[in-house]
Every structure is written in structure tokens, then in C-alpha cells.
């Protein structure tokens, strides 16, 4: 039984719904938090880090599903910002999974150049795929 929150950052309503439902139907007891854009997530991330620092605890762990192709700020720009936000600290608590319809080799290589990107899922997400990822990183 896992209780880490699943964060989905995707501008597409349907794709967010798909993740919601797959998590619901899995035996994962996780809360799905949706963000329509990267900047919305980054704001919350920064806040929660600050709060954790104030009370002297480690920031809460999370599994982040990040879309690549989004308006304004694309997935790689979000990765850059996360990277800046995390700084030198080892981001053990954060597992980022790219979540995209592009299986372009260059995009894949670029994503894995970030140490906290642990997986790359080509849409659509399936139950099996999500369970694999959870088992791999949280067992």
C-alpha cells in the first residue's frame, strides 16, 4: 500500500481524467493532484519546500507525471525550473515521469539528462504501466 501523492501536470483535460481514473482503479491509495500548467505546480512546490524547511522536516515525497507539449511553459522548461528549485539537494522525494505522446528519441534523451527523471511514458497511460513504475520506485 502506497500513499504518496500523484501529481499530474498536463494542459489536456482528457489526459488528466485518464490518470485520475487509472489511479482510482489501481490498488494505490494515492491522491491525484491536477495542474493545468507547469507554473501552477512550481508555485506549490516552492511553497511546500518552504513550509517543510520551517517546521524542520523533509518535503513530502511525490510522483510527478509531466506532459511535454504544453502552451506557455513546456515540459522541459518545467524540468529546468524544478532543477533550479531543488538546487544541490538530492531529490529523493521526487520522482518525475515524463508523460507524453512523443516517443521521439531526442526528447527521451533530453528528459533523462535530468537526474530526477526516472521514467518516460508514451501516452496513453495504462494500469499496468503505472503499477510497474510504482513498484520500481516505491517498493
Amino acid at each position: 500500500m502506497t500513499t504518496i501523492p500523484v501529481v499530474i501536470i498536463d494542459d489536456d483535460k482528457v489526459d488528466r481524467y485518464i490518470v485520475q481514473r487509472i489511479v482510482q482503479e489501481s490498488d494505490i491509495e494515492a491522491k491525484v493532484i491536477e495542474y493545468k500548467a507547469g507554473d501552477e505546480f512550481l508555485e506549490v512546490l516552492s511553497d511546500s519546500k518552504k513550509r517543510a524547511a520551517e517546521i524542520g522536516t523533509a518535503p513530502p515525497p511525490m510522483l510527478v507525471l509531466l506532459d511535454v507539449n504544453m502552451p506557455r511553459m513546456n515540459g522541459f522548461e518545467v524540468l529546468d525550473s524544478i532543477s533550479r528549485e531543488l538546487g544541490e539537494s538530492d531529490p529523493d522525494y521526487m520522482v518525475v515521469m515524463m508523460f507524453t505522446s512523443s516517443n521521439h528519441a531526442e526528447d527521451k534523451a533530453k528528459a533523462f539528462s535530468y537526474s530526477f527523471v526516472k521514467d518516460y511514458v508514451v501516452k496513453p497511460l495504462t494500469r499496468e504501466r503505472l503499477q510497474d513504475v510504482i513498484a520500481k520506485h516505491y517498493s
Binding site: D11, V14, Y17, K36, N69, V122, P124
Partner: protein, 507 residues
């Protein structure tokens, strides 16, 4: 004594006569007063005279008429200081034949004294064959397809062909005796002198300045790129070099044109691969979502959750129509290059009304359109392109309306700005943040956060068509709304009757 002397003199002359006759050279003996005392058969034949015909004649009969007048003077000068020499050094000499033909000759003068009388032995060489040979060489180098310049070991120009004169803009003969550096641009002259002198050590047959760009300098100061070949000529004079010069201006121009075309192709290729990348992604995204939703439909059908199935099928239908819309946009973009650029008169007010009518049927809530037309219909445009532009701008105004405002409005204003039709479309929608203004006309660039993502092609399509109409489009936007202003020059063909009047009307 006197008699004997005369007799002796006669004898000597006879001896001369024999010597003259056996000589292979045309010869004659001439007295100080210009009379021909003796001439041999070869000389007679050269000038076309019979045996004895020339005796006692004035030598001036053999001299071209234009020289005749001052020839006696020259002759007198010779007798003042008689020396063995060639006549007329540096000048081309001609002899006049009895039949009037002028023949090129070379003349040698040898003073002889006989019985105290100063005479001159004149040898006349027929140089017609040599002159013909020279002319042939001249014709050959003039026929060469490159400029040819022969210089001596000091860099002085000895010979140039016709092409050299044409290429460098000099008159015939003007370059002879000049330094070769005269044909070299000022900034290279000093170096060139050094190169030239060191070349005299190797004297190999090669191209000049391999790997460097060479330039020639014309008489009127213009420079042109050249290619130069160096060929040593080892003759009696020594140190001669023949340089062949080819003007490569055209080749350079071609090279530049090819370079430009290559860069253009490279750019198009990059654009195309970017297009393919974005297109494949944007077409694939809705399909991935459809496939994701259909997996739920399967399990919901098994479980009998029909309401859920119905809802998801609605989502699938939306995604499918979004995909169809994207494909339509891509096709429209691809077709933009093929739209027939037929300029026609178009009634702008009618066109706006028609487009709005179509868009209205797709609107979920009423949006108010107001217009303030300050132009005069008809306008001159390519109707197909004009519609694409207006349709996309207006549909964006509808799509990005601000739901939080009680009324959504679109206002179209037109006016004539010195022959340029200006159209501004102002909405009170969500606006576009300033940092995205530069991106909105780019292919596949979407800057709005919306649950109904577009193709990212609409404004790219607008800009492409505005450019084809030789116009411009600019965007101004704040949180209160967006204004697109389109400038379309009203091109009127000069031949069109009443064209000027139409222009005045618009103004």
C-alpha cells in the same frame, strides 16, 4: 694618273659588282648625293626592277612617299658620321616596289670609301615572312580566351593581348612598358613585388596565389576576382614570364548564388523537420487520449456502467473532431502556397458579414460585433487569402473571450492610410501576455491555457497570408483584450482605367 685612277676605280667597282652578285642578300651601293651606283640582281628583283634599271636613279624611288621628303636629310646625317648600323632603329621600315607595293624591310648601312669618295653599302632584308609569323602569333594570343600579359624580369609589361586591354580597360599599346603592378590593387602592390621577385628564382609553371583570392584592378579603379597562371618563357632575353589572367567574377557570382540556395534549402529542411516533429506530435496526442479512454469503455461495458461509457464516448467524439480540425488546419497551411494569387475587387463589409454568420453558428454564447468602416468598398485583394485572415482572427476573438466578463465584444475598424487599407480587430478577451507576442505567429505555438487546445497553426496561417497580400500584421494586447492590426497595401495596376480615380476615392 687620273685615267689610271679612273680605270682602277672602275675595276674596284667591277669587283664589288661580282661580290654583290654572289651575295644572297639584296644589296646596293649609294653615293652621298643619293644615286644608286650599284645594285645586285636580288635587290632589283625585290623591288621589281630590271637589270640596270636602277643605276643612277635616286635611292628615294625605293623609299615610301611619306618618308621621301625628309629622307635626303637623314641620308646627309648618316654621311656626316658614317657608322655600321641598322637604319631606323625602333621604327618599322618599308620599301617601295616599282609596282607601288610596300614591303616590310630591315636595312643595314655600311660606309665604304672609294677613291676618297664616301659611299654606303645598303643591305635590304625582306622581312615579309617574319612579319607574317609575328602577325600569326599576335592573332593567336588575341584569340586566346584568357588575358595574356608578358613581363620581363623587372616586371615591365612587354606584351599584352586584346583581352587584357578589354578586361583592364586600357587602349591598345597603353600598357606596354608599364609595371605589372599597375594591374594589381594598391593594397597588394608591395607584396606583389616581393612575390614577383621570388618567382624569378623558381620560375615554375603554376597558378598564382593558390588558396588566396586574387583581384585585378582596372584602369577606372574597379576590382574584379581573377585566376592567374604563370608560365616562364626561357628565350634569349631571359627572365620573361607569361601570365594568363581569367576574370572569375561570373563564377564567383554563381558560387555565391549556389551558396545562398544551399542555405535556403538547409533552412527549409530544418523547418520541414520541425514541422514533421510538431505535426506528428499534435496529430498523435488526440489519438493517444482516445485510445486511453477506450480502455475504460471496455471495462465499463463489462461492468455495465453505461453512463460512464456514454460520457467517455462524448469525450472521444470531441477528441476526434479536434483531430479533424488540426488536420484541416495543416492542409490549409500546406495549401496556402498553392492559392491562386488572383487579385480581385472585394466588398469588405459583405465579407465580414458572411464570415461572422458562419462563426456565429458555432458560438455557445452571444458575442456582440460592432464595426466602424472608414474605407471605401470594394477593396483590392485576393479573396481566398483575405477570408483566411479575417476568419482566423475573428474565431480567435471568440475562442479566447473572457468568461469572467459579462459581455464579450469584438470591434472591427477600418480606415485608409495613404493607400494602405488598415483593419483593426479589437476584442475584450483574455489577452496575450507580452512575453508571448513574439511567439504567437510561429507554427504550432500555443500560448493560451485552455481545455480546448487549438492546432497552434491559426495565426501562422494568418501571417503567411498577410505576407502574401504584401501586408503586415501587428498585435497589441493587455489583460483587457487583444487588438490585431492588419495593413494591406491597395495595389492598383497602372493600366487599369480609372485606377487613379479609385485611389482618390479611397482617400
Amino acid at each position: 694618273m687620273l685615267y689610271r685612277f679612273r680605270l682602277g676605280a672602275m675595276k674596284v667597282r667591277e669587283e664589288y659588282q661580282i661580290a654583290l652578285e654572289i651575295s644572297p642578300t639584296p644589296l646596293m651601293m649609294v653615293s652621298r648625293d643619293g644615286r644608286i651606283v650599284l645594285s645586285n640582281k636580288r635587290l632589283n628583283a625585290l623591288f621589281g626592277y630590271g637589270e640596270g634599271e636602277l643605276r643612277n636613279q635616286l635611292v628615294d624611288v625605293l623609299v615610301p612617299s611619306e618618308i621621301k621628303d625628309f629622307h635626303p636629310e637623314l641620308r646627309e646625317a648618316f654621311f656626316e658620321v658614317p657608322t655600321n648600323r641598322s637604319m631606323g632603329t625602333g621604327r618599322d621600315l618599308f620599301g617601295a616596289r616599282k609596282d607601288g607595293e610596300m614591303i616590310p624591310v630591315e636595312i643595314g648601312l655600311d660606309p665604304v670609301e672609294q677613291d676618297g669618295e664616301a659611299l654606303v653599302m645598303v643591305s635590304v632584308l625582306d622581312i615579309r615572312a617574319r612579319k607574317q609569323g609575328e602577325a600569326k602569333i599576335r592573332q593567336a594570343i588575341d584569340a586566346a580566351s584568357s588575358a595574356m600579359v608578358m613581363i620581363d624580369e623587372n616586371g615591365k609589361i612587354e606584351l599584352v593581348n586584346e583581352l587584357t586591354q578589354i578586361l583592364f580597360g586600357y587602349a591598345p599599346g597603353e600598357l606596354i612598358g608599364e609595371s605589372i603592378e599597375k594591374l594589381v590593387p594598391e593594397r597588394y602592390r608591395r607584396k606583389h613585388t616581393v612575390y614577383r621577385m621570388s618567382y624569378q628564382n623558381s620560375r615554375d609553371r603554376r597558378s598564382m596565389g593558390v588558396g588566396r583570392n586574387l583581384f585585378g584592378l582596372s584602369k577606372h579603379g574597379s576590382e574584379f576576382p581573377v585566376e592567374i597562371g604563370l608560365n616562364p618563357i626561357d628565350g634569349q632575353e631571359g627572365g620573361l614570364v607569361m601570365a594568363t589572367i581569367i576574370d572569375i567574377s561570373q563564377r564567383k557570382q554563381h558560387e555565391e548564388r549556389i551558396q545562398q540556395t544551399n542555405e535556403e534549402l538547409l533552412r527549409l529542411n530544418t523547418e520541414l523537420s520541425e514541422f514533421a516533429y510538431s505535426a506528428s506530435h499534435d496529430l498523435k496526442a488526440p489519438l493517444s487520449s482516445i485510445s486511453g479512454i477506450l480502455q475504460f469503455c471496455e471495462s465499463d461495458l463489462e461492468a455495465g456502467n453505461f453512463d460512464e461509457v456514454r460520457e467517455n464516448l462524448g469525450r472521444v467524439r470531441q477528441l476526434a473532431s479536434r483531430l479533424a480540425g488540426r488536420i484541416e488546419d495543416m492542409l490549409a497551411l500546406a495549401r496556402t502556397d498553392n492559392v491562386d494569387d488572383g487579385w480581385q475587387d472585394l466588398d469588405l463589409a459583405d465579407s465580414v458579414a458572411e464570415i461572422w454568420q458562419v462563426l456565429r453558428t458555432k458560438m455557445s454564447s452571444a458575442i456582440e460585433l460592432t464595426t466602424a468602416f472608414g474605407h471605401t468598398d470594394p477593396i483590392r485583394t485576393v479573396p481566398a487569402r483575405f477570408s483566411i485572415v479575417l476568419e482566423n482572427i475573428l474565431s480567435n476573438a471568440i475562442k479566447y473571450r473572457d468568461q469572467s466578463k459579462p459581455n464579450s465584444t469584438v470591434h472591427i475598424e477600418t480606415w485608409d492610410d495613404d493607400g494602405v487599407l488598415k483593419i483593426s480587430v479589437r476584442d475584450n478577451g483574455i489577452g496575450i501576455p507580452a512575453e508571448h507576442h513574439a511567439d504567437i505567429f510561429k507554427l504550432f505555438k500555443r500560448v493560451a491555457n485552455t481545455d480546448e487546445p487549438g492546432s497552434g497553426l491559426g495565426l501562422a496561417l494568418v501571417q503567411k497570408n498577410v505576407l502574401r497580400l504584401k501586408g503586415e500584421i501587428i498585435v497589441q494586447s493587455t489583460g483587457d483584450g487583444t487588438t490585431f492590426t492588419i495593413a494591406l497595401p491597395q495595389v492598383r495596376e497602372e493600366t487599369r482605367v480609372g485606377g487613379v480615380e479609385s485611389r482618390v476615392e479611397i482617400a
